[in-house]
Each structure stands twice: as structure tokens, then as C-alpha cells.
Subunit: 171 residues, 2 copies
């Protein structure tokens, strides 16, 4: 039972959500998708998982309707509307994680429309909107530690970047 991924006898929508995105690494793969990662090799460079686990997680996300495979040749993975609807939960969980650190936020989110900083509830401090992920840009905050990783994705994420736009990891 402890090794299962379903919560069969829990009549609960939190359990249902966790059946889809609760497996180890799944939410971090989706995080990377929101950050603009699309290619298998980029996920692999940025996440410390084996090809087998990454392949399984991406396939499960496609099956669940959260990612779509696009393009010919080297596939790219993009978030679907169903995955975009998960953004508020992922953002809230991230902000709670930020609150556990005393170094300040690792990552700052700004409203691309007006440049205002987004607070931990997702609201723009300048205009009062709650921007969707497509209207956010992100950059490292004072709590980020650039010494942890030097892969191409991590480097590309050190400059301000609009969410969901493909990350430029190749020169």
C-alpha cells in the first residue's frame, strides 16, 4: 500500500490531485515546464533523475492531460490548460517553501504587464491583478545560490525570463 500512487478509498479531491501530481519529481518537472523547459535533455540536465524516471514521469503527465508532446523529431513538452490551472497551487506551495528560508526568496515573480512584484498570494503589488503564469516573469532572488548548479538550464534561468516562453539553453 505504501508504494502505491493512488489513494483509492479517500473520497477527497486533494487525494485525487496527489494521485496525478504527487509522485516524486512530478511537480518539479511541471515547475520546469512553467519556467520554459521543453526538451528531454534540458529536463535531464536540470533534474537529478535517471532517463528512465524522467521518461516515466513525462509519459504519465501526457497521459493525464497535463503535458502535450509537440514538434517533430526531438519532441518538446508544453503544458496544457489543465496544467496551467495547477499554477496557483504550485505558486502557493513555492511561496510556503520560501517562507521556510531565512535568506530571502530564491525566486522573484513580477507581473510582466506592469512590472509590479507579485506577493505570496499571487497578487501584483502595483496593479492589484492576479496574473496567470503567461503574464509573469521571473528572476533569481537574494536567497538563490548560484553555486549549486551550472547546467545550461540553471544558467539560462539567471536572467529575467517570461514564464512558459521557451528557455534559450543553446547558443
Amino acid at each position: 500500500m505504501a508504494l502505491g500512487v493512488d489513494y483509492v478509498r479517500q473520497d477527497c479531491s486533494l487525494a485525487r490531485a496527489l494521485e496525478v501530481v504527487g509522485e516524486r519529481w512530478t511537480l518539479l518537472i511541471l515547475r520546469d515546464c512553467f519556467l520554459g523547459v521543453r526538451r528531454f535533455s534540458d529536463f535531464e540536465a536540470h533534474l537529478d533523475i535517471s532517463k528512465a524516471v524522467l521518461t516515466a514521469r513525462l509519459a504519465a503527465l501526457v497521459d493525464a492531460g497535463l503535458l502535450a508532446r509537440v514538434g517533430t523529431g526531438h519532441a518538446e513538452y508544453v503544458v496544457t490548460d489543465r496544467a496551467r490551472e495547477l499554477w496557483p497551487a504550485m505558486f502557493a506551495l513555492t511561496q510556503w517553501g520560501e517562507s521556510l528560508s531565512e535568506r530571502g526568496p530564491r525566486r522573484i515573480f513580477e507581473h510582466a504587464g506592469c512590472g509590479g512584484r507579485v506577493d505570496r498570494t499571487g497578487r501584483c503589488g502595483a496593479c492589484g491583478d492576479v496574473p496567470g503564469p503567461e503574464d509573469l516573469q521571473t528572476r533569481p532572488g537574494p536567497g538563490a545560490d548560484p553555486t549549486v548548479r551550472d547546467d545550461a538550464v540553471s544558467k539560462a534561468l539567471r536572467v529575467p525570463h517570461r514564464l512558459l516562453e521557451p528557455l534559450a539553453t543553446r547558443g
Copy 2:
């Protein structure tokens, strides 16, 4: 690596949050705490986990500062401020889970202050506030399936109930 619970080389606050609450069953234990479950035997009756796993998860949540053990004799577990700050993320994840179902919401949340229904962003449709968990009451929605469980916690949760208030599971 796949069996670890930490994401050591992910300089990311979502990863940090998942290190604390990402283990299987942990968020469902916290859900029960918000619903008013406090006693070991009630968690056990409501969750399909062994005593060993429940003991380990509760201890980890106490260690992480999310639950406090209170009372003498039979211990009760109550959420700390740090856990209360996790409510927006848990609520958002639950609402996303609700969106996966076509039967309507399994659980409805209302603002105890004014009786308004809380929308999926956590905002009260009547007064416009975003109530904290202590100002919410909950009852089963049309998507709930009362045939799934008949333990004392599930039965107690079939009547409207204020969040965080101890659940009356004993006659």
C-alpha cells in the same frame, strides 16, 4: 536517489516545500488536521495507512514544526502557525483536484463569518474576503460519495463543521 525524500541539488523553494510535505500521506494527514482530526486513532480510522507509517509521518510533522503535540495521556496533534500558512497551497491543490471531477465538488467551503461560498481561489463570493482556515466551515458537496467510507471521522464530516475545531467522533 529515487527513494530519497530530499532534493539536495535543487535550489528551489518548491523542492524545499516538497521535502517537508511531499511524502506520501503527509498532506492528507495535514488535511485531516485542518478538518479537526486530532487523535492518533482518528487519523488511523480515516486514512488507510499502517500505525508505523502514521507514527513516522506525525513525528516528522512535529519535527518540522507543522504539528504540535498537546494534552496529557492520549496525545492530540494540532497545526502550528507554520502549517496554517500552508492552507492556501492545500486549498488550491484541492480545488485543482475538484476540477478533475465531473460530478461537482466533493467538499464545499463557506466563509463562517458571512455564510458566503468560497470560490476556487479562496475568495468569499459574498463579502470578497479571503478567509483563513479558522474562518471556514465545510460540508460535503454533490461530488462526495458517502458509500466509500463509514469510519467515525467520515461520518462526523458529513455535517457542516468549522475547520480546526475538534471533530466530535465519540458519542
